[in-house]
C-alpha cells in the first residue's frame, strides 16, 4: 500500500529530534500533543495565559469560547503557525510525542507535515484538483514516481470522502468545486502528506448544513487514524463531533473535559454561562 511507503519514507528521512518520555493522561490515555504553561504575546498584549492542555491520541478535541478568547491562538501554536506573525512570542512548551516543537532543532516545514491544518474558508490552490492534493507529497518528496503519487492522490480524496464526486474531472480547477467540496479538497490536501494531527479552524463556518454534515461525518471517520483538534463557534458542532472539549475565556483555559460532561454538567460557571448562551 502506497500510504505505508509514504510513512516509511518520512520516518527514514526524519531529522533526529530531542527525545522525551511518551506522554499519557492521568487515566492512562496516550497523549499526542501536550501544551504546558503556554503563554502567547502579540507585542505587549498577552493573548494566552499559562495554558496547559493534553490532546489525546486519536481523539477529536474541540476548542470553544467567545471571539478573542485565545482558542485559535492556541490551535495555531500547535503547528507553529504563529511563527509567521512577527510580533508574536510564545513561551512554555508544546510537545508532539517526544518532541518539543519549539526546540530550535525542529524543522518547521516537517512539523507542519506532521501537524496539518484546515482553515475556516476553503482555500484550494488555483490549480487542478489533482495538483491540489499532489502538491504536498511532491514538495516533501514522499513518493518515488507518478504511479505512487496517483495512489496518494486517490487515497487522500477517498479518505476525504470526495473521490467519487471528482474522480472523472481531476484535471479541472479545484476552485470550481462547491464550497463544501472545496473544504473536503483542503482536508484531502492535508491528509496527503500523512499527518499525525489535523488542526481545523472553524472548518464548517462557511458551509451549508449538508456540507457541514459531510465534513462532520468525515471528522468522525478520520478519528480512527488521526488526532484532530477543532476550533468551532458552533456549540452543537463541538457537542456532536468531539470526545473532549476545552473552553477558553479571556486567554485562559477555563475547563477541559469529556464532551458529554461539559455539555450536560460543566463544572465552571463561566463554561455553563457560555454554552447556554448567557454571554459571548
Amino acid at each position: 500500500m502506497s500510504m505505508e511507503k509514504v510513512m516509511d519514507a518520512k520516518t527514514d528521512g526524519g531529522a533526529a529530534m530531542p527525545a522525551g518520555a511518551a506522554m499519557v493522561t492521568a487515566d492512562g490515555v496516550p497523549v499526542k500533543m501536550r501544551g504546558s504553561n503556554v503563554n502567547v504575546f502579540y507585542g505587549e498584549k498577552q493573548a494566552l495565559f499559562d495554558v496547559g492542555l493534553d490532546v489525546r491520541d486519536r481523539h477529536v478535541t474541540a476548542l470553544i469560547g467567545p471571539s478573542g478568547c485565545g482558542k485559535s491562538t492556541f490551535l495555531r501554536c500547535l503547528n507553529r503557525m504563529n511563527d509567521t506573525i512577527d510580533v508574536c512570542r510564545v513561551t512554555g512548551t508544546i510537545m508532539l510525542d517526544r518532541t518539543d516543537i519549539y526546540d530550535p532543532s525542529v524543522d518547521v516545514v516537517e512539523l507542519r507535515a506532521r501537524v496539518g491544518m484546515v482553515f475556516q474558508k476553503p482555500n484550494p490552490f488555483p490549480k487542478s484538483i489533482y495538483e491540489n492534493v499532489a502538491y504536498g507529497p511532491r514538495i516533501h518528496g514522499l513518493t518515488r514516481n507518478k504511479s505512487e503519487l496517483d495512489d496518494v492522490v486517490a487515497t487522500s480524496l477517498q479518505k476525504a470522502g470526495l473521490y467519487e464526486e471528482v474522480k472523472d474531472r481531476l484535471d479541472e480547477p479545484g476552485t470550481g468545486l462547491s464550497g463544501g467540496q472545496q473544504q473536503r479538497l483542503c482536508i484531502a490536501r492535508a491528509i496527503a502528506v500523512s499527518p499525525e494531527v489535523i488542526l481545523m479552524d472553524e472548518p464548517c463556518s462557511a458551509l451549508d448544513p449538508i456540507a457541514t454534515a459531510k465534513v462532520e461525518e468525515l471528522i468522525d471517520e478520520l478519528r480512527e487514524n488521526y488526532t484532530i483538534v477543532i476550533v468551532t463557534h458552533s456549540m452543537q458542532q463541538a457537542a456532536r463531533v468531539s470526545q473532549r472539549t476545552a473552553f477558553f475565556h479571556l486567554g485562559n483555559l477555563v475547563e477541559e473535559g469529556e464532551t458529554k460532561e461539559i455539555f450536560t454538567n460543566p463544572r465552571d460557571k463561566r463554561t455553563q454561562d457560555y454554552i447556554t448562551g448567557r454571554f459571548g
Binding site: 456549540m235 452543537q236 457537542a239 461539559i262 455539555f263 450536560t264 454538567n265 460543566p266 463554561t271 455553563q272 454561562d273 454554552i275 447556554t276 448562551g277 448567557r278 454571554f279 459571548g280
Partner: protein, 235 residues
Amino acid sequence: MPHTVTLFDQELKAVAGRVSEMGGLTEAMLSDAVSALTRMDKDLARRVVAQDKRVDALQFEVEEQAILIIARRQPVAQDLRDVIAAMRISNDLERVGDLAKNIAKRVIAIDGTFDSKKFALGVEHMTELTQAQLKDVLDAYANRDEETAVSVRERDDEVDAIYTSIFRELLTYMMEDPRQISICAHLLFCAKNIERIGDHATNIAENVIYMATGVQPMDDRQKQDETGVVAEPSS
C-alpha cells in the same frame, strides 16, 4: 445570569411555572380525595375527579413547550437539565393526579360504610406524610434545593411502613367478615394509591437532584413495603 436571548428565559420560566401549577393542583387533589374518603363525601369526590382534567391539560402543555424549546433552542447544561426535569416531573405529577382521582372515584363507587378508627387514622397519617413529601419536593423544585430533595428521597420508607400495617389490618377485617371484602378491597386500593403518590414524590426528588447537580441518583433505597411477604400464606 439571564440568557442573551431573553425569550429563551421566558420560555424556561413558563415551563417551570406550569410544573409548579400542576404541583399545587395535585397537592389539593390529594388532600380533597382523602377528606372525601374519610368523610365519605361524594360531592367533594366528584370535584376531585373534575380537577384531573386541568392537570392533564397542563401536563400536555409542559410537554409541548419542552419539545419546542428543545427543537428551537437546543438547550445544554443547566438549561437542558431544567427542560428534561420539567418533562419528567410533569409526568409524575400527572400520575399523582390520576391516583388522587382514582381514590375519589372509589369514594363515589363505595356502597355502605366502613367504621374503623384505626384505618382512618392510618390513612390520615399516611396522607399527612405523603403530603409533606409532595410539598417539600415541590418547594425543592422551585428553589433548586438539592438538600431537601435528598431528604424527601430518604423519607419514603415511613410511608411504605404505614402502608404495610394498613394492608395487614384490612386483611384481618376481610378474613373476619367476608361481607366486608368489597369495601376493604376499595380501601386497600386507596391506601395503595396514596403509597404510590409517595413513590412519585421520590421520583420527583430524584429529578430535582438531577436538575440541581447533573447527577442521576442511582443507589437503591431500603424498601419497607413488605406486603409482598405478608401476602404469602402463613400458618
